[in-house]
C-alpha cells in the first residue's frame, strides 16, 4: 500500500558535461509530451475516498443555516464537514492576512466560496451528497467597485479588521494603500509643453494552468498526515495548514506531486486543508480533484484594475512628471493584494527616468472573485497603462514612439521613484533598438500566388471571415519594468541540501530542495549548477518535500536566482568539504593540494592548471558529504507608508516587444503576425529554457490583449464564463512567430550574473499588441482585452 503515480522521480544522468549555459533537456519533458508524467490529479491510494467541495452559489450573503443531515445519510458518504467541524481555534488562513475562512462561516463573500466538504467512496456520490446539503442564504448587496466599496454606508466585506494594514488604509474596504511621492509633480507639470492623461481598464485574467487543483491526503499512524499536492511553495502551505489541523508542522509532511502549471494561481491554498481535514476525520486517504469549472473558483486571478495616468513632456521629448492612481480589485479576500499594491505603485513609472512623481495604488475588498498572484504581479496592469501613455505623448510631440522611449529610458544608475538606485545593467534603449531593427514580416502573407487566400494567415483564421477585405496592418512597441524576487523587506531565502557520494565507483550528486517545479525548469537548472560546481555528471534531483528547508515560492521570477543560488552555495560548501577530505588523505603526496587553486572536473580533483590530483572516488571512498544550507540575496527594505521611499526590490528585469498585427477593421478581428522580443537575462543558464519562458510569457500577454477575461456580472458579482468554452486562451493559430533576442549583461549581485526572466515578457507583450491595434485602427482603446465590439463601435 503506497502512493502510486507521484512524485515522479527525476534522474538526470548524462554523458555530456551539461553544466550551466548549455541547453540540457528537461528531465520531465518527454514524459509530459507523451502523457506519461504523473500529475497530482493522477494519484491513487488503496481504500481512498473522494472529497468534494460545496461552494456558495451567491456572491454576498448571510448564511442563516446549513443542513447536512440528508447528505450525511447518503450511502457511501463518510463525512460531511462545515465550519463548525473545524478542530481548532484557527479557522482562517491567508498568505499575508489570515482573512480567508477554511469554510465559510456566517457569511459568504464571493461566488464559489467553499461552504462544506463531503468525503465519499466515489466522486459522483460525493457530488450528489453535496447537492443535498441545504444552505439558507440571506442575500446582501454586492460590493463590486471602488464606488460601492468606499460609499459612506458601504457594508464592510471584513468587519473588525486587525491586520497590519488596517491602521493606515483610508477605508476598511481598502486592503492596502501605497503612495509614492518624489520631487514635486505639480511644479514639474508647469514646465511641460505637452501633458497627456488617460483612464485605462485591465480585465480579470486567469492563470488557466492546465492541471486543475488536486492532491491526496493520507492519514498517518502517528496522528499526522502526509499530503501530496501540486503547489508553488510547500512551506508556505505548511505554515497555513498545520495550525488549522492543530498539528505541529513536523506532523504535516508535504511532498510536491506533478504540477500542471501555476503562474501564481497556486500560491494560495485550494484543497490542501480540506483534504487533510477529511482524511483526519475519516482515517482514510482522501483525494480531491477540481474539474475545470471548479478550478475557475478554486484559485485567485489577476487583479482587474482601473488606472489613471498623467504624463508631461517638454517639446524636445523629455518626460517632466508622472501622476497616477491605480485601483486594483482584490475581491473578497486579501491573498497577495498588499504585495501586488507594492509592486503596482513602485513599478508604475515603468523603465523611464522621471524625477517628479505622485503615485497612489490601492487594492479593494469587494465581493468579486479573490485576486492575487499572477505572472507579472501588479507590474502588468501598470505597464499596459504607461506604455499607452508613451505612445500618446510621442504622437502629441510628433516623435517616433521608440525614439521617444529611448530618450527617456532608464539605465544603470537611474534613481527610481522609491529612491532606489538601479545598480545593475538596465539596457532599456538597447532592447527597444533590437526589436525595432528586426526586418518586418512580409506584407499580405495570406496571398499565395495563383491560389486561394490562406485564411490561416488572416484575422478570423479558419473561420473564413475575410480573404483580405478590411484588413489593415499595425505595428506597436512596448517595454516593461519588473522586479525579481520577493520585495519590501521579506526574508526571501532558499535552502538546498547537496550530497555527494560514490555509487558503483562513480561520484553521484543528489540535490534536494523544496522548490516547486511548476514547469519553469528549475529541476533542469539545478542539475546544471551541480555539474558546474562539482564536476560530476550524474546528478539526481530529489523529489521536493518539507523534509528539507524552505525554498521559497516558485514565483516572482525568483527560483533560478534564489534556489539556484542556494544550490550553488551548498555545492560550494560540499566542494570545500571534499577538498578538505582530499587534503587530509592525499595532501602529503602532492604540494598542489596546499598551494594551487583546486577544481572538481569530470569526477576528479584538478588544479587550475589542469593537473589531476585524485579521483573523487578515491577521495570519498565510502564517505558521503551531505550539506544543507540556507542562502539569501541582498536584503530589501519596506516602502515608507507615506512617501513610498525604500530600497524595496532585489533586482529588475526588462523586456521589449514589437508587435505586428493584421486587423479586420470591419469585423474587429485581430491576427497577431509576429511578437518579437528582446530581453536581458544576465546569464542564460539554459538558453532553450530561457527562450521557452520568453515565448510563454509573450503568449500569456497576448492572451489578455485580445481574448482572455473572466467576466463578472456587475449586478450579482457572479462569474459568467467559468469554462474553457468561454474563457478563451490562445490556440497555436493565435500564437504568432516569436523571435527572441537574448542579451546577457551580468548583474554582479546575482549568482552567475543571472536575471530572473519569467515575468518580464508578460508585461510588454500586452501593450505592444494594443499599440499595434491602435496603429492599425486609429482607435484609442483604453481597455484590455480588446473585443470585436470595441474595434467596430458596436
Amino acid at each position: 500500500m503506497g502512493v502510486t503515480g507521484s512524485p515522479t522521480n527525476i534522474h538526470q544522468g548524462t554523458r555530456t558535461r551539461g553544466g550551466i549555459g548549455e541547453s540540457t533537456l528537461r528531465p520531465d519533458g518527454i514524459l509530459k509530451v507523451t502523457g506519461e508524467f504523473a500529475y497530482s490529479s493522477d494519484m491513487w491510494h488503496e481504500d481512498m475516498l473522494w472529497g468534494h467541495t460545496l461552494r456558495s452559489t451567491v456572491a454576498h450573503a448571510e448564511i442563516v443555516s446549513i443542513d447536512t443531515s440528508e447528505a450525511l445519510a447518503t450511502p457511501g458518504v463518510h463525512a460531511v464537514l462545515t465550519y463548525d467541524d473545524l478542530p481548532t481555534s484557527v479557522k482562517n488562513y491567508g498568505l499575508e492576512i489570515q482573512d480567508t475562512p477554511v469554510l465559510a462561516h456566517g457569511k459568504a463573500r464571493h461566488h464559489g466560496e467553499p461552504v462544506a466538504l463531503v468525503a465519499a467512496d466515489h466522486p459522483e456520490t460525493a457530488r450528489r451528497a453535496a447537492a443535498k446539503i441545504r444552505i439558507d442564504y440571506r442575500e446582501l448587496p454586492v460590493i463590486t467597485d471602488e464606488a460601492s466599496a468606499t460609499a459612506p454606508d458601504a457594508i464592510l466585506v471584513h468587519e473588525g479588521r486587525s491586520d497590519h494594514h488596517a491602521g493606515h488604509v483610508p477605508h476598511p474596504n481598502i486592503v492596502h494603500r501605497q503612495p509614492i511621492v518624489r520631487g514635486d509633480a505639480d511644479a514639474a507639470a508647469a514646465r511641460a509643453d505637452v501633458i497627456v492623461s488617460g483612464e485605462y481598464v485591465f480585465g480579470m485574467q486567469d492563470q488557466a494552468f492546465l492541471g486543475p487543483e488536486s492532491g491526496l491526503a493520507v492519514p498517518a499512524e502517528d496522528g499526522g498526515v502526509d499530503l501530496y499536492v501540486a503547489t508553488q511553495w510547500l512551506h508556505s502551505d505548511l505554515r497555513q495548514i498545520a495550525p488549522v489541523l492543530g498539528l505541529p508542522e513536523d506532523k504535516v509532511r508535504m511532498t510536491l506531486s506533478g504540477v500542471g502549471g501555476a503562474f501564481g494561481g497556486r500560491e494560495d491554498l485550494s484543497m490542501q486543508i480540506h483534504a487533510c481535514l477529511l482524511a483526519l476525520r475519516t482515517g482514510k486517504p482522501v483525494k480531491i480533484v477540481y474539474n475545470r469549472f471548479e478550478s475557475f473558483f478554486g484559485h485567485v486571478h489577476r487583479h482587474p484594475a482601473k488606472l489613471w495616468y498623467e504624463h508631461g513632456a517638454t517639446r524636445d521629448g523629455k518626460l517632466t512628471h508622472m501622476k497616477c492612481r491605480i485601483v486594483l480589485d482584490g475581491g473578497a479576500y486579501a491573498s497577495a493584494s498588499p504585495a501586488v499594491v507594492g509592486n503596482a505603485s513602485s513599478l508604475s513609472v515603468g523603465p523611464y527616468v522621471i524625477d517628479d512623481v505622485d503615485i497612489e495604488a490601492i487594492a479593494l475588498y469587494t465581493n468579486n472573485p479573490p485576486c492575487g498572484a499572477m505572472r507579472g504581479f501588479g507590474a502588468v496592469q501598470a505597464c499596459f497603462a504607461y506604455e499607452a501613455q508613451m505612445d500618446k505623448l510621442a504622437a502629441e510631440l510628433g516623435m517616433d514612439p521608440v525614439e521617444f522611449r529611448q530618450l527617456n529610458a532608464m539605465e544603470q544608475g537611474t534613481l527610481l521613484p522609491t529612491g532606489q538606485v538601479v545598480d545593475s545593467p538596465a539596457p532599456v534603449a538597447e532592447l527597444l533598438r533590437r526589436v525595432k531593427a528586426r526586418p518586418l514580416p512580409p506584407e499580405r502573407q495570406w496571398e499565395v500566388a495563383g491560389e486561394q487566400a490562406d485564411v490561416r494567415a488572416l484575422p478570423g483564421g479558419l473561420s473564413n471571415t475575410t480573404h483580405g477585405e478590411g484588413v489593415v496592418r499595425g505595428i506597436g512597441y512596448a517595454v516593461g519594468l519588473k522586479n525579481v524576487g520577493f520585495s519590501e523587506g521579506f526574508d526571501d531565502y532558499s535552502t538546498a541540501r547537496v550530497r555527494m557520494e560514490i555509487v558503483g565507483g562513480e561520484p553521484v550528486v543528489t540535490v534536494h530542495t523544496a522548490m516547486a517545479e511548476v514547469g519553469q525548469g528549475g529541476v533542469t537548472v539545478h542539475a546544471q549548477i551541480a555539474r558546474t560546481e562539482l564536476g560530476v555528471a550524474q546528478v539526481t534531483i530529489h523529489p521536493a518535500d518539507t523534509q528539507v528547508g524552505s525554498a521559497g515560492s516558485t514565483s516572482a521570477s525568483r527560483q533560478t536566482y534564489v534556489t539556484g543560488g542556494a544550490v550553488k552555495h551548498s555545492c560550494e560548501a560540499v566542494r570545500e568539504k571534499v577538498l578538505e577530505i582530499g587534503r587530509r588523505k592525499f595532501g602529503t603526496y602532492h604540494p598542489a593540494w596546499a598551494t594551487a587553486e583546486l577544481l572538481l572536473e569530470d569526477g576528479k580533483v584538478v588544479t587550475d592548471g589542469g593537473e589531476v590530483l585524485a579521483d573523487l572516488a578515491d577521495v570519498l571512498e565510502d564517505e558521503a558529504v551531505d550539506i544543507e544550507l540556507e542562502w539569501r540575496h541582498r536584503p530589501t527594505e519596506a516602502f515608507d507608508l507615506r512617501t513610498g521611499q525604500g530600497n524595496g526590490h532585489v533586482q529588475y528585469s526588462f523586456a521589449a516587444h514589437r508587435a505586428v498585427v493584421e486587423v479586420d477593421t470591419e469585423l474587429g478581428l485581430v491576427k497577431v503576425i509576429e511578437l518579437a522580443c528582446a530581453q536581458d537575462v544576465g546569464k542564460a543558464l539554459n538558453p532553450l529554457s530561457v527562450e521557452g519562458q520568453i515565448q510563454g510569457g509573450t503568449t500569456q500577454g497576448l492572451g489578455v490583449a485580445v481574448m482572455e477575461e473572466i467576466i463578472v456580472d456587475p449586478k450579482t458579482a457572479k462569474v459568467r464564463n467559468p469554462s474553457f468554452t468561454d474563457y478563451l486562451i490562445p490556440t497555436i493559430l493565435d500564437t504568432p512567430t516569436i523571435p527572441v533576442d537574448v542579451l546577457e549583461l551580468a548583474d554582479d549581485h546575482a549568482p552567475y550574473g543571472l536575471r530572473g526572466i519569467g515575468e518580464a515578457p508578460t508585461l510588454s507583450s500586452t501593450p505592444a499588441v494594443l499599440a499595434a491595434i491602435r496603429n492599425a485602427t486609429g482607435l484609442e482603446l483604453n481597455r484590455t482585452p480588446v473585443r470585436p465590439e470595441h474595434l467596430t463601435g458596436t
Partner: protein
C-alpha cells in the same frame, strides 16, 4: 445513468421507443460537455457508435445522403465538391480531434443556434431523415429548428441521415469567433448560389433563437439579380445591391447580448459576412475562382 449500446439501427429505434428520454450520443461533442458541466444528467445515454451505417454517405443525382455520424473531417476531405458550404463550416468546428468524432446529426439533435453546420444546411437546402419504430419521415430543414435548442423530432425519433442538395453553384461560409480557431460562433453566415433555379439561399447562425434564413434578403437579391440580368451577364453585382442585401441580412437577426458578444455586434457582423460571402461566391460564379474558398 444507464448506458444503452444498440448493435443495430433497429435496436436503437426500439430502445428510443422504450426510453424516449434517452439522449443519443455519437461523437459526444455537445452531450459530454453538458454532462461535464452538470447541465444535464440524462437517465439514459443511447450510444450510436456501434451502428456503422451512420458513418456512411451516398452521393446521389440530386442529393448527398449524409449519415448522422459522418465526422466533420470526412466531410472536409471527401465532400468538398458536393457540399462546399458544409465543408467550410466543418472546418470551423472545434479542434481536429473533435472534427474526427463529431457529426452533423449531433448538431441537428442539439439544435443550438450556435451549431456550426446549420447555416450551411439552410443555405444549401436539406431534409432531415427522422425515423422511429413508427416509420420514417423527411423534415425540411426550414421546419426543423423550432426554438432554442429545440427541434421538430418526436421523443421516439432518431436522426438517421440528412439529405443535402448537391451544390449547383458556389457556396460560402463565414463564422465570427473571438479567437482564430476552436471557438464557438459569436455569429455565422452561410450563402449558396443556386444558378439552376436562379436563386440565392442563406443561413444565419447564433444571431437568433434558432438558425434562420435571411428570407427578405434572399427575396430582395433574387429579384435584383433577375431584374438586372446578372445571372446571364455575370457582371459584378452593383455595390448598392450588395449593400442592401447585407442590410437585410443583418435585419433578419434577432440576437441577444451574452458573454460572447453583443446583439448589435452580431447584427453588424452578419451584415459584413453577408456582403463578403456574396462577393466571394459571385466572383466564383463569374469564373474567377481565386477567392472561392479559404484555403483552409
Amino acid at each position: 445513468m444507464d448506458f444503452l449500446r444498440p448493435a443495430s439501427w433497429e435496436e436503437a429505434l426500439a430502445a428510443k421507443a422504450e426510453h424516449p428520454t434517452a439522449v443519443p450520443i455519437a461523437g459526444g461533442t455537445d452531450v459530454m460537455v453538458e454532462i461535464n458541466f452538470d447541465h444535464r444528467r440524462p437517465e439514459y445515454l443511447l450510444d450510436l457508435n456501434r451502428i456503422g451505417e451512420l458513418s456512411e454517405w451516398e452521393v446521389g443525382q440530386e442529393n448527398v445522403r449524409l449519415g448522422a455520424s459522418v465526422p466533420y473531417s470526412h466531410i472536409m476531405e471527401h465532400l468538398r465538391a458536393e457540399l462546399p458550404g458544409l465543408a467550410l463550416a466543418s472546418h470551423t468546428v472545434a479542434s481536429p480531434q473533435i472534427r474526427n468524432r463529431g457529426g452533423v446529426g449531433g448538431n441537428l439533435g442539439t439544435a443550438s443556434p450556435a451549431g456550426d453546420a446549420h447555416p450551411a444546411l439552410l443555405a444549401a437546402g436539406a431534409e432531415v431523415e427522422a425515423e422511429s419504430v413508427r416509420g420514417t419521415r423527411m423534415i425540411p430543414i426550414d421546419a426543423f429548428y423550432t426554438g432554442v435548442k429545440r427541434n421538430a423530432l418526436e421523443p421516439d425519433e432518431l436522426i438517421r441521415a440528412v439529405h443535402i442538395k448537391k451544390a449547383d453553384g458556389p457556396q460560402q461560409y463565414s463564422k465570427v469567433g473571438t479567437r482564430n480557431a476552436m471557438v464557438i460562433a459569436v455569429c455565422a453566415f452561410g450563402l449558396a448560389l443556386h444558378p439552376e433555379t436562379r436563386t440565392v439561399r442563406t443561413g444565419i447562425g447564433s444571431a437568433a433563437p434558432t438558425p434562420v434564413r435571411a428570407k427578405a434578403a434572399e427575396e430582395f437579391l433574387n429579384a435584383a439579380l433577375e431584374e438586372g440580368g446578372f445571372w446571364d451577364s455575370r457582371t459584378i453585382i452593383t455595390p448598392s445591391i450588395a449593400a442592401q442585401f447585407a442590410t437585410l441580412a443583418a435585419g433578419a437577426c434577432n440576437p441577444i447580448d451574452d458573454v460572447r458578444g453583443t446583439a448589435s455586434y452580431r447584427r453588424h457582423a452578419v451584415g459584413i459576412m453577408a456582403r463578403r460571402t456574396l462577393g466571394w461566391t459571385w466572383e466564383s460564379y463569374r469564373g474567377n475562382g481565386r477567392s472561392t474558398e479559404g484555403a483552409a
